[in-house]
Symmetry: C2
Subunit: 385 residues, 2 copies
């Protein structure tokens, strides 16, 4: 713990809790992933569900109009309204959602959908025809049993592709997977193996389709941990990565980044000293930090967040150990450091808290306070459905 | 599990995920707490942090303009803009927040603040004078070591009251506590004892103050579990209860309500069948349900929510066992019930999910879909800070 009280530069003079972005770190994270993608020879289709912010998405895609990946139709609508034109909606589509997706195509966007079910693909074909709008559709592959999708050699993959190609308003576009179990990997070797598992799953599915006579133009993978550790992505055309723009404590535990690469933090104010229980209380609780405790089973359990001084320097011993709706309770890992904690964090001072899971924490805010080193800029984000 | 597929009444034809309120249950929950308060002889100062919605707050206070409790200044601003005039901001105040609070007083509201620190009370006195606005201030008492506040016999309580009374722009109003450890109680007897612990803590603090010559007009408690089980609130003047308006699975585990008293649910659509892993996937994930797993240590672990048919009937065996950002994975408690689950929940059908913690789940939405039994009304809610 530093001997001096945290700095309080004027540029952090905003109401708390607030969502801070360190612009230099953001840009560094973006550049690093661009380098990885170039080395591996794949295009990026960044998943903008993490930041849900046009200004950040533009920085990622170098000022263009896509390609991006979205997780909700509201995101899709937000990004299309702001000029993006090439979107993959990476959650299984159902017919009741097709009218909203069709409106985006009519507005000039290319919207790719995903399916993993024969009957649903057929229902989508009917709905697309009714909307008189054409969609490209990818088939979701399950690489690791994590979530949705068909196993790579499932014969229904070919059956779905056949149905898509036969439909008047659908076009079969390829295969995609999300190897979400990479988040559970421990160690670089396990992550390298998982990246290869992800690659081989979609490449195998693509081979099955090509053998059956289908062109399988897109072969898409997506997870920040597996992309960060992949050694070879032969046969893959694009990667949908999201959380790398901010990084977070879960990613740092995985070895994707260091704690000093985390570009997102919650600015909070110390509001109470609870000396008898050894807790410093801040005005960022379960809503401001999220209740995601994703580091619970990892190498370092950060509770609900790593506490930093206002200048971003981690106060290594201090974490948010408990949250109520609007209260965060900070304690030292070493209880004998309580006195130093109270001295370093007087009531009224400000701290920054690094999040376990950037996507979840950011979702509580409608605005980013973007720190360019001189002043804070306000960038909006899109939430909800 | 019912043999028939869930009903799909037209009135639930909204995009999913959506936040549903069962108006009949809401009104029943409000009436029940009013009866409890009347029996115990205390006023209610409902905590509107749960619903953050004018229409619901008005139903609670019988159409009046307060009194209410808020957890953020944005809530305070929202409710004052909608005509509420008597608010307690129940999170320790710090000087940097006083300007926003003062603006509310200038707008015609009475805003009560809370403190638990001698130096901070003194800083607040200076800030209030600078704003030239008068606040009533309560002293926070710690009943159970749960969060903030001073222990009931701490001599600093009198010292703070003295400072408040001496300040030109502050007025000492009384004492308040939140016995949040009631959420960890198991069984009715433990909850009754905890309610008495909460009562005796503030009453003891008030007695200390009166002995020292202070009028201690307000003696305020607040927690839905302790209020629901309290047998006697002698000496208490008001109760700040919040989550009872909706109730949730945590409250049902505590015995505060039954599952059929839960007025809040998330409407979701089944988007994928993952037969090999035994999961039905819905479009309500960690953002739509929240990552609050408050039932984890309770009698019944509901995962991330209890799954119900569209008519609200719990499908007792089914819960959301895992969440990603926009995916919720449903599984039966009894794995042999998988086939029945897939049959009951076809892709495209709708379900409702009861939340672990209503306050956290509701916070992801800007709108309630309020079901009055005939149609859905849209009621806005206020989020953020």
């Amino acid at each position: 713990m530093p001997a001096t009280a945290p700095l309080a530069p004027d540029r952090f003079d905003v109401d708390t809790p607030a969502l801070l972005v360190d612009l230099a770190r953001l840009d560094r994270n973006i550049a690093r992933m661009n380098t990885i993608a170039a080395r591996l020879g794949v295009d990026l289709r960044p998943h903008v569900k993490t930041a849900k912010c046009t200004q950040i998405a533009r920085r990622i895609v170098g000022g263009g109009t896509g390609p991006v990946t979205v997780s909700t139709l509201r995101e899709a609508e937000y990004f299309v309204a702001d000029g993006f034109r090439d979107l993959l909606y990476a959650v299984s589509i159902v017919p009741s959602k097709l009218a909203r997706a069709a409106a985006l195509v009519r507005a000039g966007a290319s919207v790719q959908l995903i399916v993993d079910d024969v009957a649903t693909a057929s229902d989508i074909a009917v709905a697309a025809q009714r909307e008189d709008v054409t969609f490209e559709v990818l088939i979701e592959i399950d690489a690791d049993g994590h979530r949705a999708g068909l196993r790579p050699m499932d014969p229904r993959i070919v059956e779905i592709a056949r149905g898509l190609e036969a439909a008047s308003h659908l076009r079969f576009g390829g295969v995609m997977t999300h190897a979400g179990a990479s988040y559970g990997c421990v160690g670089a070797e396990a992550l390298r193996r998982h990246a290869e598992l992800e690659r081989s799953a979609v490449v195998q599915a693509a081979a099955q389709l090509r053998t059956a006579g289908f062109d399988c133009a897109r072969v898409s993978v997506g997870s920040t941990p597996s992309m960060s550790f992949a050694e070879d992505l032969s046969g893959v055309t694009e990667a949908r990565v999201g959380v790398y723009v901010f990084n977070d404590l879960v990613q740092s535990n995985l070895g994707v980044c260091t704690v000093n690469d985390i570009a997102l933090s919650v600015l909070a104010t110390v509001i109470s000293h609870k000396r008898d229980t050894g807790r410093v209380i801040i005005d960022a609780g379960g809503l401001a930090l999220s209740k995601d405790h994703g580091t619970a089973g990892q190498a370092i359990d950060y509770g609900y967040g790593q506490v930093c001084a206002i200048d971003g320097q981690p106060l290594a011993d201090l974490r948010v150990v408990e949250v109520n709706q609007e209260h965060g309770l900070i304690a030292p890992r070493d209880a004998s450091a309580s006195a130093a904690m109270f001295a370093a964090l007087p009531i009224g001072c400000r701290v920054r808290v690094l999040p376990n899971h950037a996507c979840m924490t950011a979702a509580a805010y409608d605005t980013y306070q973007v720190d360019d080193g001189v002043a804070l800029q306000r960038w909006p984000r899109c939430n909800g459905w």
